[in-house]
């Protein structure tokens, strides 16, 4: 225990004296937490639409007004030539083209039927498909309005229709930030674990001080604990700042679930990630090596964790990778506990899996860490 005390004193002094590392530990995560959620927003706005109007009637004008009033579209071009609209799309300026045929109003009133043409620029698939969906909804809404109007005019019987109303649970306004911020917090503690811990140990290898440690009677587990505990504390601290300061004050996210459950999981997850960093450090001789290896895994942790894209829509092999990724479990737990208020019993499996990761990484690292070569 006495040895551990001396190791911890040394480690904290070094961390707080490191002028390059300190801002990285404290400022970067906070900045990231402020910026990334704004960029990782899937709500599509500002869809550029080019309207080709061959009719110039009152109905056509009503339809266009309805589209621009929806807030999703920006009327980029209004003309009566399809050529001109198409050129806009070729130049990648227009996302959608809406073509209103000649005699739009006349046909609609006489026959009750009319066709409009929508062309979609599908290069940005999400924007294109969501845009055409929005447009379809607006047109069908417009359509109903007109039908109702015409029917009233001809005083026919009431129109039969089924209307669907939906209610969004847990994130009622479909706010992407509410969805993203808890996940991004997970990434931040993952980085602390994997990067800080592995770089710190490999630095001692590079400078040669680890050799001085290896000729002392320090026990392996004391040395390793001396490295893990400081970063564990920093990880807990960072999460707390991110969670109670940024997530609450900036994004207004107030956790619904039990904080003890959340922190219990965080504590365990940090042990797993620190073990991962430790493991990498036992295989690396230089900080560059450790950096590249951790970077490789960080990419997988970030992109295959269900943070940005749904795991259910990944191909089978990718789902397998995602479920071998510790970050996946913590992101799920964060979203479940914070947004849904899930209980300990709902995340038992997650606890079990992360305990497994913690045991695996740490015991592998301890076996692989040698004082004698």
């Amino acid at each position: 225990m006495r040895t551990l005390k001396f190791l911890l004193i040394k480690e904290f002094k070094q961390i707080f004296r490191n002028k390059a590392l300190l801002p990285m530990i404290f400022a970067l995560p906070i900045i990231q937490l402020l910026i990334i959620p704004l960029a990782a927003d899937y709500e599509i706005k500002n869809i550029n639409i080019a309207v080709v109007d061959h009719d110039h009637s009152g109905y056509a004008a009503d339809l266009i007004a309805k589209i621009t009033a929806s807030g999703y579209f920006r009327l980029l071009d209004y003309s009566d030539s399809f050529e001109s609209a198409y050129r806009q799309m070729e130049a990648d300026e227009a996302d959608l083209i809406l073509e209103i045929p000649q005699d739009f109003e006349k046909e609609l009133v006489i026959t009750g039927q009319q066709k409009v043409f929508i062309a979609v620029n599908a290069i940005n698939g999400v924007k294109g498909s969501l845009g055409s969906n929005y447009l379809n909804n607006i047109i069908s809404d417009f359509n109903q309005g007109i039908t109702a109007e015409l029917m009233q005019a001809s005083s026919a019987g009431p129109m039969k229709k089924i209307e669907i109303t939906s209610l969004n649970w847990y994130n009622p306004y479909l706010n992407y930030q509410v969805f993203m911020v808890p996940g991004i917090l997970v990434l931040l503690v993952t980085m602390v674990g994997a990067y800080m811990c592995s770089l710190n140990i490999v630095k001692e290898k590079e400078v040669g001080t680890i050799e001085q440690i290896n000729v002392t009677p320090i026990r392996k587990h004391h040395y390793i604990l001396g490295k893990l505990i400081p970063f564990w504390i920093i990880g807990m601290f960072l999460f707390t700042v991110g969670f109670f300061v940024i997530a609450r004050l900036v994004y207004g996210i107030i956790p619904l679930g039990n904080l003890f459950v959340l922190y219990g999981f965080l504590a365990l997850y940090l042990i797993a990630m620190l073990g991962f960093g430790l493991l990498i450090s036992t295989y690396s001789q230089t900080q560059q090596q450790a950096m590249s290896v951790v970077f490789f895994f960080m990419m997988i942790f970030v992109l295959m964790s269900g943070l940005f894209t749904s795991i259910d829509s990944m191909p089978d092999w990718a789902q397998l990778v995602a479920y071998c990724n510790p970050a996946t479990y913590f992101i799920e737990v964060m979203r479940m506990v914070v947004l849904k208020g899930s209980q300990l019993s709902d995340i038992r499996l997650h606890f079990a899996v992360v305990t497994g990761f913690a045991l695996l990484f740490n015991s592998w690292a301890i076996i692989n860490y040698r004082k004698t070569s």
């Binding site: 004193i9 002094k13 070094q14 001085q212 000729v215 009677p217």
Partner: protein, 246 residues
Amino acid sequence: MSREVVIHTNQLTKQFGDFTAVDAISFDVYKGEIFGFLGANGAGKTTAMRMLCGLSTPTSGEARIAGYDVYRETEKIKMHIGYMSQKFSLYEDLTVGENIRFFGGIYGLSDQALKEKSRSLIDSLGLKKHQNSLVASLPLGWKQKLAFSVAVIHEPSIVFLDEPTGGVDPITRRQFWDLIYDAVDRGITVFVTTHYMDEAEYCNRISMMVDGVIAAMDSPGNLKVQFNAASMDDVFYDLARAAKRS
């Protein structure tokens, strides 16, 4: 001689793949001796020393350090030795005082002993004004003297010094050797590698390594007679010229 043997090796060998870095060396070092371990770069000195310190496991042969076996009792060996590597290996981002307290602490010195040791060390090294400066800011010679003092802070039976005075000016080297003599007076055995032949003269006995084997071993005086040489420099040239490896 009936003196106490503190380092005993017999046919000690280390191979890396098919390269034999240290080839069946056998020697004894006695308590209180200054044992010089000489040889050209790449002769296998550092590898041999790392085996004796328990940093590297031998391929074959036997060795006992302070009575402990290098295969099975490396952690016990580490209680009884001090080691100063070629690379400066104190923490540059800790102060002089912090380094002393850290290494003293992990060797199990009590708070009381730590306090006294820090004070006497800082006094004798003349580092009073610098005890709160980062080690990184000290000149090399001071760093090396500090590193030596830290390596013997727990009064080990043996201290291993791997080229401790490389790049250090002659005056500081002289002071460094004063520290070594002080340690010997306290009963510490000194095992030292060096490339400076004047330093070789300070040793009680010398072994010369060439191509992983010990080519000669005796006191500096006897070696000069044996090789009919005027100085240790000439002995070194005579032996090292025969090397095929470097």
